[in-house]
Subunit: 206 residues, 2 copies
């Protein structure tokens, strides 16, 4: 594509580096920005800059945070005896949106993946063990929920962490896997259906 | 959605202001930017800022330009006797990509639209007349191609400009409308098919 201006070309190139945005979409966004009031572009530009340069991570759970300890970790209303271990930040947002969980989190920042050369020491496992051994405010950690992806890498990571925690005598649970709500049995894959039979629970009339 | 950090929330809000980008996509882009090297965010931010604050418009054709007169208007290899009138900047890019046109352009910056309260004086029609009367470098303008959208507004604008130009004795043409290349007759709407019969051309064996 021939651009009439070097500035447009640069904006298109930079915007199309974002995942899922091609050159055509980038051009559409660029021309949109050109037509808007100056403040739209300046505040977008500033938000992106601040995002990358000013965000820090909670030293306890490794979530993004505006302060040294994040709002969840420092909230006295959250149950400090339970920690939910997740792969990354979007998982925390997803669980928070269910309003079914009131404990703390621990963000690994990835899962063990030999294919990608990522071992246990490359993700935040040692700091999880540290939290269990020396909990915040001297509250005892009673349960660790493993909420990792249902993939080979996720299972490997769950297994690795589970073994380490069981050695410390802590209750380790994992989120339920089975037929999704609204799911039809005939369209569910065999592995999920098989697991849902093995992990059957007592029927509750509530 | 509850965000763990105000900075993330701001970035998501700003990014989701762009057309076609919702909150979920904005969050995905935000988390992507967080994981990239600092330079990705800084150069994106800078490109957006420069785009809006530094671009200027060609004083002849009103296209975006890095200089007072754009590269097309100042290119001695372009045919100065022919001007293609378009609605907006993407149209120029589209025509340039065909490699079928070597003349100059004139960007109206919109079409006449009484519905949106946009009259002939709100778009760059008077500067087009000025170009015809006092052409750049004393080259005579011999032909004006109207390449406006095939909508009611586009047709109104073509009619308005066409009448003004014919009064000056200049040849006015419009881009051909008909069956698109690869188009099937049975799936073409009646208006297009009707027009393509009225505007039939001599069959060329080339």
């Amino acid at each position: 594509m021939n651009f009439p201006s070097r500035l447009i070309e640069e904006a298109v190139t930079e915007i199309s580096r974002l995942p899922g945005i091609g050159k055509k979409t980038a051009l559409r966004l660029t021309l949109h920005l050109l037509k808007q009031h100056e403040s739209v572009a300046t505040s977008l530009s500033q938000a992106i800059l601040d995002l990358r340069l000013k965000t820090s991570y909670c030293r306890v759970c490794h979530n993004i945070s505006d302060s040294e300890v994040c709002a969840t970790c420092s909230n006295p209303k959250r149950d400090r005896s339970i920690i939910c271990v997740v792969e990354d930040i979007p998982d925390v947002l997803a669980i928070e949106n269910t309003s079914q969980y009131n404990g703390l989190y621990h963000i690994l920042g990835g899962v063990i993946s030999p294919m990608q050369g990522r071992g246990p020491e490359d993700i935040k496992i040692s700091s999880l063990m540290e939290r269990v051994d020396h909990p915040l405010d001297q509250d005892l950690v009673k349960e660790i929920i493993l909420a990792l992806p249902a993939t080979m890498e996720g299972d490997t990571t769950s297994f690795y962490i589970g073994r380490k925690l069981e050695a410390k005598g802590i209750k380790v649970t994992t989120i339920a896997r089975g037929i999704p709500v609204g799911g039809e049995l005939e369209f569910t894959d065999e592995v999920t259906l098989g697991r849902s039979i093995i992990s059957r629970t007592n029927y509750s009339m509530q």
